[in-house]
């Protein structure tokens, strides 16, 4: 599958609040813990060899389950592969909590749900739709029932 690799690498070089050297272990049997520079940018988790500029890989943080493994370790598992976990060893309990929190909150879908909550609440409290002033109140992207595929299917024929 093709993807915009160069652009993604460029994205990985953006400044990020969440960037640290952690112990990282892959999901396969036999994978060992390796020191990696782990960096959270938008909803991607990039990981680098500590002295390299280009990341080794990128994990999309959607449909994933973040779990505490022990006081300083957390794991990320992806949909329907609950046993295949990526493990991350932190230097402290606080760092571990911070990472878990940030990863969960970085998910696009998590943020979308929050937006819909705020929109609904603001409308309830003030009587006004906060998205109107930005000309995006009709966008299905920010609707409560935005899961409807029929609404978003473009029926124009090419």
């Amino acid at each position: 599958m093709r993807f915009n690799e160069k652009e993604l690498v460029c994205l990985s070089r953006q400044p990020s609040e969440m960037a640290a050297e952690l112990g990282m272990r892959g999901p396969k049997k036999g994978d060992v813990v390796k020191r990696r520079l782990v960096k959270l940018v938008v909803n991607f988790l990039f990981y680098f060899r500590t002295d390299e500029e280009e990341p080794i890989g990128a994990l999309l943080l959607e449909q994933c389950h973040v779990e505490r493994e022990d006081s300083q370790t957390f794991s990320i598992a992806f949909l329907d592969e609950a046993e295949r976990k990526y493990l991350f060893e932190c230097d402290s309990e606080e760092q571990c909590k911070e990472w878990m929190d940030s990863i969960i909150k970085a998910s696009y879908e998590f943020m979308r749900k929050n937006l819909i909550f705020y929109r609904t609440e603001i409308h309830r409290l003030t009587g006004k739709d906060p998205l109107e002033q930005y000309g995006i109140s009709d966008e299905t992207r920010f609707q409560v029932n935005s899961g409807s595929q029929l609404m978003n299917r473009d029926t124009s024929s090419l």
């Binding site: 652009e7 953006q14 999309l60 949909l79």
Partner: protein, 261 residues
């Protein structure tokens, strides 16, 4: 760099919202030919394949750090995703103007950074609205409420519009805030301000298109003074225009003898 594809393909087929899908033509740079592809836009990812029923995905475009440009052409409805100097420009074409407009808007609103900015703004509005409600509910003898402390910080995104620039249109709305320099190492400092999501701006990308309002970064105090200056200028301009229009009105009214009483 390895992009864990399975995670993406799983995300595509899961029940999270499809933000837009449909046929578009995509230009292949190699032979400058447009091929019809089925596109699925989900969150900040644009997937494409030959047909909707296909299991085989041709590719995905991560929509961060790009600008959307609606291009002008007769009988042809092109638009582009531009990632900036040294980086790709993806070219597309729609079958008609309406489809073109809808896709341009959808792609513009798709980025994580856009959602992040919007969330920040709405979060503040929500807190204000709650505070206001709490003060109205409490049994206080004061009837008037003091204005929300950061009301001027609320409009940080411009309304979406398509701006014509020469022969091409650009989406005009505030883009993600400029990236703040941060250390690479993890910080354990106490957070004075609410945590912000990672900012995204292409390092070598084009200058961001700013809408009518300047973007507020995450430090309200710093940005407040900028906003103050900005609004000051806007008010000045508006005043001058109004005075000018009053002048012409005056001149005209002296000629007309319409009784407006």
């Amino acid at each position: 760099m390895k992009l864990h594809e399975k995670i993406l393909t799983r995300f595509l087929s899961c029940t999270s919202p499809v933000d837009k899908e449909g046929y578009l033509y995509k230009k292949k740079e190699r032979n400058a030919t447009y091929y019809r592809r089925w596109f699925v836009l989900k969150a900040n990812l644009l997937f494409y394949q030959e047909r909707p029923a296909d299991r085989h995905l041709l590719g995905v475009i991560v929509l961060e750090g790009c600008t959307v440009q609606m291009l002008d052409s007769d009988g042809f409805f092109p638009f582009a995703l531009q990632f900036g100097s040294g980086l790709k420009t993806y070219r597309f074409a729609a079958g008609d103007a309406q489809t073109q407009g809808r896709w341009v808007k959808a792609l513009f609103l798709a980025s994580h950074s856009y959602l992040s900015s919007l969330l920040r703004v709405l979060g503040r509005q929500y807190e204000e609205a709650k505070q206001q409600q709490d003060s109205t509910n409490s049994s206080s003898s004061f009837k008037s409420l003091s204005p929300p402390t950061n009301s001027l910080l609320v409009p940080t995104l411009a309304p979406f519009s398509l701006v014509r620039e020469g022969r091409s249109f650009s989406a005009s709305a505030a883009l993600p805030p400029p990236s703040m320099p941060t250390k690479m190492a993890a910080k354990k400092s106490p957070k004075k301000w609410p945590r912000r999501n990672a900012h995204v701006t292409p390092l070598n990308g084009p200058a961001p298109l700013y809408g009518e309002w300047p973007l507020v970064g995450s430090d309200p105090l710093v940005e407040f003074s900028k906003l103050h200056d900005f609004y000051g200028q806007e008010v000045q301009k508006a005043r001058e225009e109004w005075l000018r229009s009053r002048q012409t009105e005056k001149e005209q009214s002296e000629k007309d003898l319409i009784d407006l009483g």
